[in-house]
Amino acid sequence: MSASSFPYLSLAILAMLAGGIMSWRAQIRRSHAVAIVLTTTLLVGLGFWTAVGSGNPWQADSRCRRLGIDSGTGWMMLVLCLMDLLIVLVAPEQDLKRGIVGGALILSAGNLIAYAAHDLTTMWSGWIVGAMPFLFGALRRNQAVRSALVPAVGSVLVFGMALAAQAAGARPLTVSTLILVAIALRKGILPFHGWVVRAFAESPLVWIMLLFNGHLGGLLLLRHEIARHGLEQGLVEIASGIVILSAIVCSLRAVVEANPRRLLGYLFIGQSGLVVGGVLLANTEGITGALVHWLVVVIASSGLFVLLRILERRIAGPEWWRQPQGLGVSAPRLATFFLLFSLTLAGLPGTLGYCSQELLFTGAAEHSIPLGWTLALTSALNAISVFRLFTHLFLGVPANRALPLPDLLPRERWPLVVSLVLLIVTGLFPARVMRLPEAPVHELVTPAQMPGGGH
């Protein structure tokens, strides 16, 4: 086993943190933000490369037992860094104001720590770092971040309580329940979905993207022994039931929602519910589907939220979304990207979303046929809602405004094309991507459920 990923990782985290702290109070130029994220991405890439090269699947680093890149989650860290890069490249100029980018870099550093953590205490420290921008924002009486306090800070507190209970020798059921509550808070699983949707509607979109698109709840589930050993099977059954129920509730709520932020919030909760649900299924298809879907959700929803943010900055006025906008005429590329990212989340064939959802449905059907059916129906409802949003924003008679909405700039276009091509190429040739989650799948699936292992 090699320990060489640690230097890269520590440098990457330090770069993010330093960049975040320095730009917290000061205006930052886009080129500087891009340089920081690019450096981090390269460092994480090098760390991942060494981890894969030394055959380090899902294990602790020998030099630092608490922190290291392994081949199980290293690719996820790399994707998260690429998502950061997409955000800093495409985000509107106004979002580069002090605080926003600084907070985003700190959030990203928190995500990296959580993903590199090999024990729950270190992972918790990543959660704490990620909650800091919201906490400091609230202390500075920033009204906008208050709605995100429950999912961001509340989940950290409950996670901390779980760790304290574990250290105090509490019953495993208590610890597991607390862990599941922390996950539910973080992922907006019933009954906490209202807070998450509100956070989507009111908080800075760049922070919200990084907070929820880190999928730290799913990561905690992957790392915790609930998923690994099927501890308290009854509890896992209840949890999976609630996750599926959340997905159904959110998909139904999205049907009658008009606010794009809230609608995409519901969609996001439904999609990330699929990730958690897939892990809880604890079969090879479900976990592989969940982890590949994680990749899809990270890329596609980042693209969607970035596009929405661009729209918000270019269309002035309160509640601009109330009237049909007909933006497709003046901004056809923006419309096309929005449609393609939406349909990727909805499982459009030819994109990776189709493959991941097929696996998820198969895993669910293997567990229980009505479950597979329900997930497919939920996915269909989500697709209908997001397509309705697309038609509302981009099709129809253009709204009466003095100047036509400008289409995507080349600076915005290229990173989005790269993201889309990534989703399409991996969707057309998904075999290699399907092998990425092999290590966690091998760890989490019991031998009896492996192919040829008992069936």
Binding site: A258, A383, T391
Partner: protein, 445 residues
Amino acid sequence: MSLPILVAILLPGLLFLGLSLLWLLGLVPGERGIARSSKGVALLSWILFSIETIPILRPLAAPLRLDYGDWFASGHAHFGLSLSVDPESLPMLWLAALLTGLVASFSVRYLHRDRGFLRFFSLLNLFTFGAYLVAAAGSLDVLTVGWELVGITSVLLIGFFQLRPEPVHNAARVFAYYRIADVFLIASVLLSHLWFGTARLDALSSGEVLSKGLDGTGRIHWIALFLILAACGKSSIGPFFGWLPRAMEGPTPSSAIFYGAISVHLGAFLLLRVQPLLLASGPATLLLIVLGAGSAFLGTLLHRSSCDAKTSLSYATQSQIGLIFVEIGLGWVWIPMLHIVGHSIVRTAQFLRAPSMLHDHHHVHAAAGGRLTPTGGHLEALFPRGLQIWLYRIAIDGGVYDTLLNRFLLRPIVAVARSLAVLEPSAPAVSGASSGNRSTPEHQP
């Protein structure tokens, strides 16, 4: 031998990808280049299909099966890439290539200088790729991919004239129909994998699977039922009867290729591909015949009372597809296949001539010396006067389809969705309203 077939199928997909990527990057090809490449691809595909598959039409010739291994796999789930070119799929492949080329030629003038020229041709190529995949699919996995691609292109072309509210509204509505119907197809694929360990079309019609499915568990009935419902969704039959007239908002050439020819017949084609499985299930066969006959009757009724040319043609199409469903339910193979091909060609011609219908009528009227006798009254004459009036009232209300759907399905779903707001302590009182009088927090100083 397999390479030319593969190339013929992939060509339109690659052209779509190329055109789209160029456009996304800001490079817009000219009309002539778009049209020539699209027509060239259709012609090349047609030639390749013809050359490579003529040997298959010889008596006792074996069908061409192309297996490319697993597209992706995990655990017990294997999604195979297999194509099958046989006497059943061949007419569909030929038809798709021929009519796509024809419609592409027609559209060059029809959409000349339209701002959606590139969009139309890109979507036409994606549709062609999807239709080829459905026609040549060797498994339900591959068929589903093509099926969904056809669906999404269909919806985007319904909303082609995006500056008018009706096409946009109808596109969203048709998308909803398609997605719900697709759930049934996905369910049948999942169940086939789960229960029979395969979704290959030849395997699903094999004696082994049929005997396994009829072992008293009723498995085969469920799969057959889901396949019928999926086919109904694509062909606008039975519970999905209402969407086809809404789809007439798209450009006439797309109406011709989608709703006169290829897309609406794909449902019937799917049923033909799995016909042994359907016939093994008595209840499913009965359902198929009842749905087909009911839609045929309703279709002809509505067609006769419709005053809009394209809408009238759409109902007439539904009527014929209903009959094709009945033919498949009766166990016939070649009659429904011939019916599909013949109906597609005739209906495409009718749709393409629809904008000139009045001109054509005047032409024929003058040629007949001003004495054109009305036709089509023979069916009405079979019914008593009171029933005729009652049926006419139903017909002009679109078969009360939308009324029933809104009252018993959509309104309850919306009511449930709204009532779920009680689970959110922070949900706005009015759905869609934000918590404050501002659009986004980032607008704050």
